[in-house]
Amino acid sequence: AQSVAQPEDQVNVAEGNPLTVKCTYSVSGNPYLFWYVQYPNRGLQFLLKYITGDNLVKGSYGFEAEFNKSQTSFHLKKPSALVSDSALYFCSMIKAAGNKLTFGGGTRVLVKP
């Protein structure tokens, strides 16, 4: 069975410091991987995705993520966090084209001034 894990319920970081949100996956074959962000009282916003090709993908708001097949990870990163990055972040996966999107449990990011 396929699954997505976000091992940290919450990540605290000072503004200006690097931000990393961890994600690991379990699936047979090559997955499609996604990151979404949910701001308070808002829906989910698409940040970035990995389908194939370059392992480092860049997305919205200065975020990037690196696909690591050997470690089955897809960690989200931002070099310098902003207070406005405080939100709930979801990693998700599709096993193959046409299959349903599976979400991780979410990681709450708190960026302190």
């Binding site: 996604f34 829906g43 989910l44 698409f46 995705k49 979400f103």
Partner: protein
Amino acid sequence: SAVISQKPSRDICQRGTSLTIQCQVDSQVTMMFWYRQQPGQSLTLIATANQGSEATYESGFVIDKFPISRPNLTFSTLTVSNMSPEDSSIYLCSVEQGAETQYFGPGTRLLVL
């Protein structure tokens, strides 16, 4: 990406009643999805709604409780029937656009008393 709206944005309902949630997209899409996000939790897929066919429900969700309509390529409704407090959640619709990527509406926040 598609612009997705949902109505109502929030509601407070009495147990035993039903609520119909509307999802409108600004472009024609083949696949629409309905998710539930219970308080403090991740997203769970309720069903996939394709125009011209019956919705496909995930394990644990049934048509009698969550009837779905998909009358055209830009619109869908989800009804939460015979509500109980356990149905208090955020309900989100999403559409697929481009390489398996889903874009989400702002969500409907439902509180059942």
